[in-house]
């Protein structure tokens, strides 16, 4: 064997071992330092908060079903939309994307045994439930009413819950910033043999870009929210005009984070959609370099467009012009991705499994959301449509049609790897179609409402909007019901779903090169190595896990599986 000069040193580190016996539930699960368990913890907690945020939304929709409804009083309604937005952004979407998927999948995809700082990872998770409970506790002391955007002077005058909101945001911000540091070091330094940056799966590229955004944007929010807390508690006059403060300052500080935040909530979704489309079209991703660069471009430009949320705040026209142009430019990298995905599917061998359906549904809804985004980017249009239901429609198309759909796509895709069980395909398809149709039915009519002048964040409305609002409310209940299909599918799968093979979808990325689920500590039994790009379906699928016994499928098994919707993967 020829001697090989290795520029880096070879890992002689983590052997695969089992956790010590006699661990309490707390130690084994909630305090686990294994990135896979941390990821599961994040996903489970985030899903619980998704339900909380969803219940708040449904209560609002009950109130909005008829004009002049007395179901909720206006103050409580204000609390509800504030907490709905805050919960969905900070307790569901960001933790699920950043803490959930990234934690579980990214180290596997780069062939690493864990993240760079496993105990820091555990700390990041441990901060999450208390931060969430701190936020929820505000309901006991008078929840904030200023919207998730929390503009002063309303947020300066609000009840104690507004201060609890501030503290919760800071705790959650620390949690995600620590995660970002962890992921950046992991990706930069812990890629396995042969995993050059040009062979990085696109999900990892998207995580790299997202982590950079989290790292730089979240502390800026902490600065602003910290100052808000000081302003409320000690009368520090940053936003108090009578003592020299400026109200618009808050908006700058808040949106400097919150615009990148929306990209933080979608970019990992873009990454996993790239994975799913490549695998279920059985073709290499079209425009790999373009997608990778576009992720970096989105991360950079997203930090430079924040004031398109402030067109009606009285900022100078010259600034409005700049932000309008920059916002229109940022649509270009996303458009590049959309076309690349379409190019990947062209003449591909499509398998319309549930994850693929969610990916396709995502493309439809996200493009609609993107188009209305371009409309809103235009300053004159925004003057009319800002703070109307047109904006509510746009944001839900990109956040529900975008983030939520990609989250479900990723959940169905990685469910076998995470749990070692298969989901039921037929139930999955029911879930998709019901959710896709009802989501469009819920959010599309909101465009019309906004164009006709219905304002957002109001507990009631003029009678002319009544019919549409009733339709939307009914559609939203169907949307909630579709989620229950997922829950039922998940629970039955965990209890009695068929055991998942290492690579049920026939993917080529390293996350599918172990058993399902991967070994508890260390992931791989042998050092993984990579010799080709991650979407090479002509090469055999890699496997670096525990040697698996050959499973002979009897004809009866095959028929049973076909009946359940599974097909052989070559």
């Amino acid at each position: 064997m020829a001697a090989v000069l290795e520029p880096e040193q070879i890992i002689v580190g983590h052997e695969v071992h089992h956790a010590p016996a006699n661990q309490t539930f707390l130690q084994k699960y909630l305090l686990s330092t294994d990135h896979k368990q941390v990821g599961i913890n994040y996903m489970t907690t985030a899903l619980i908060f998704f339900v909380v945020g969803g219940i708040l939304a449904e209560l609002m929709r009950v109130n909005l079903a008829t004009p002049g409804s007395k179901f909720i009083d206006p103050t409580t309604y204000n609390e509800f939309y504030t907490m709905h937005g805050t919960t969905m952004v900070f307790l569901f979407a960001v933790p699920f994307m950043v803490g959930g998927f990234t934690n579980f999948v990214m180290p596997l995809m780069i062939g690493a045994p864990d993240v760079a700082f496993p105990r820091l990872n555990m700390l990041s998770y441990v901060l999450f439930p208390p931060g969430g409970l701190l936020l929820m506790s505000s309901f006991l002391y008078g929840a904030p009413q200023a919207g998730w955007t929390s503009y002063p002077p309303v947020s300066l005058q609000g009840p104690v819950g507004q201060s609890l909101w501030s503290l919760a945001i800071i705790v959650l911000g620390i949690s995600s910033t620590l995660s970002a540091i962890n992921f950046l070091v992991t990706i930069v330094n812990m890629r396995t043999r042969g995993m050059t940056l040009t062979r990085l799966p696109l999900f990892v590229w998207s995580v790299l870009a997202t982590s950079a955004m989290v790292l730089v944007a979240t502390p800026a929010l902490a600065g602003g929210v910290g100052v808000l807390f000081l302003a409320r508690t000690f009368d520090v006059p940053f936003f108090n005009v009578s003592k020299g403060g400026q109200v618009v300052l808050w908006q700058h500080m808040f949106w400097f984070y919150s615009h990148p935040a929306v990209y933080i909530m979608i970019l990992p979704g873009f990454g996993l959609i790239s994975e799913i489309i490549a695998v279920f079209s059985r073709r290499p991703i079209f425009g790999y370099t373009a997608i990778a660069f576009s992720s970096a471009a989105i991360a950079l430009i997203s930090m430079l467009v924040w004031a398109h949320h402030m067109f009606t705040s009285g900022i100078q026209p010259a600034l409005q012009l700049y932000f309008m142009l920059a916002t229109m430019i940022i649509a270009v990298p996303t458009g590049i991705k959309i076309f690349s995905w379409l190019g990947t599917m062209y003449q591909g061998n499509l398998r319309l499994t549930t994850p693929m359906l969610f990916a396709l549904g995502f493309i439809c809804t996200f493009v609609i959301g993107g188009v209305t985004g371009i409309m809103l980017a235009s300053v004159p249009v925004d003057y009319h449509e800002h703070a109307t239901y047109f904006l509510v429609a746009h944001l839900h198309y990109v956040l529900f049609g975008g983030s939520v759909f990609t989250i479900f796509a990723g959940l169905y895709y990685w469910w076998p790897k995470i749990t070692g069980r298969m989901m039921n395909e037929r139930l999955g398809k029911w879930h998709f179609w019901l959710m896709f149709i009802s989501a469009n039915a819920t959010f599309f009519p909101m465009h019309a409402l906004g164009l006709l002048g219905m304002s957002r964040r109001i507990a009631t409305y003029a009678p002319e909007y009544a019919g549409t609002n009733l339709f939307i409310s009914i559609a939203s209940f169907v949307l909630a019901a579709s989620f229950l299909i997922f829950i039922y599918n998940a629970i039955t799968s965990l209890r009695s779903g068929p055991k998942a093979p290492p690579n049920p979808w026939g993917a080529r990325t390293l996350d599918w090169s172990t058993e399902s689920p991967p070994a508890p500590h260390g992931n791989f039994y042998t050092q993984p190595y990579v010799t080709t790009h991650p979407y090479d379906f002509t090469a055999p699928a890699p496997y670096f896990g525990k040697p698996q016994p050959e499973v002979e499928l009897t004809p009866l098994d095959e028929r049973e599986l076909r009946r359940k919707g599974f097909r052989r993967v070559t």
């Binding site: 064997m1 880096e8 040193q9 070879i10 890992i11 002689v12 580190g13 983590h14 052997e15 695969v16 071992h17 045994p113 760079a116 700082f117 910033t177 970002a180 540091i181 962890n182 950046l184 070091v185 930069v188 330094n189 812990m190 890629r191 396995t192 790292l215 730089v216 944007a217 979240t218 502390p219 800026a220 929010l221 902490a222 600065g223 602003g224 100052v227 000081l230 000690f234 009368d235 520090v236 006059p237 940053f238 003592k243 020299g244 403060g245 400026q246 300052l249 700058h252 500080m253 400097f256 260390g522 791989f524 039994y525 042998t526 050092q527 670096f544």
Partner: protein, 199 residues
């Protein structure tokens, strides 16, 4: 290429693979400092934004802190960066005693900075919630002072562990980490000193 896969053997004692010449820990500190740039940056932006909106600075009735004492304090803090650099150099050569000497100086100078800051706070005729100068000055220098204090505590920890012989020529990474943090804190002070005391 060998056809036999090599099991990942050993546990803990082996060397860790990395893709760059920097260790995980050092990279972690560098990224952490990026996040610190962001938080100070947002507050500095707030200060400049608010100051720009004021016709007179400082606002009527408010005195800026004395330039002379502030300059002296800045020199004290910046020189502590030099001392900690010497400490790093010393341990890189395995010189334990010298490292401890320079560490002690770093701690003394760092604490002196905090002490003089506290004295200046006491002397100023405004408060954090009295006017916009007080709000921005105390928030920013207060956050900075908290960072300096934590840094001094970190150096104390390093010093005590050094007394117990923990640092060697081969293993003294925490010194490098805290040193990077300390240089960053000093860099922030250069900016704060410029925008509050000088201009």
């Amino acid at each position: 290429m060998s056809t036999v896969s090599t099991p990942i053997a050993g546990h803990g004692g082996g060397q860790v693979r990395r893709n760059t010449r920097l260790s995980n820990g050092l990279l972690g500190v560098i990224f952490f400092l990026c996040s610190e740039v962001a938080i100070f940056g947002s507050l500095i932006f707030a200060y400049l934004y608010l100051r720009h909106a004021q016709p007179h600075w400082p606002p009527p009735g408010v005195e800026k802190p004395a330039l002379a004492l502030g300059a002296a304090n800045a020199v004290i803090l910046l020189s502590s960066s030099v001392w900690c650099h010497f400490a790093e150099q010393a341990i890189a050569r395995g010189q334990q005693a010298r490292m401890l000497f320079w560490l002690a100086l770093t701690i003394i100078f760092g604490s002196t900075f905090v002490g003089i800051q506290a004295f200046e706070y006491h002397r100023l005729n405004t408060a954090i919630n009295k006017d916009i100068f007080g709000a921005t000055f105390f928030t920013l220098t207060g956050l900075h002072g908290a960072h300096v204090s934590l840094g001094v505590l970190a150096w104390l920890t390093i010093f005590i562990l050094g007394l117990r012989g923990r640092w060697t020529k081969e293993h003294h990474f925490p010194l490098n980490g805290v040193s990077l943090y300390w240089h960053f804190v000093d860099g922030v002070w250069v900016i704060l000193f410029t925008i509050f005391y000088i201009f």
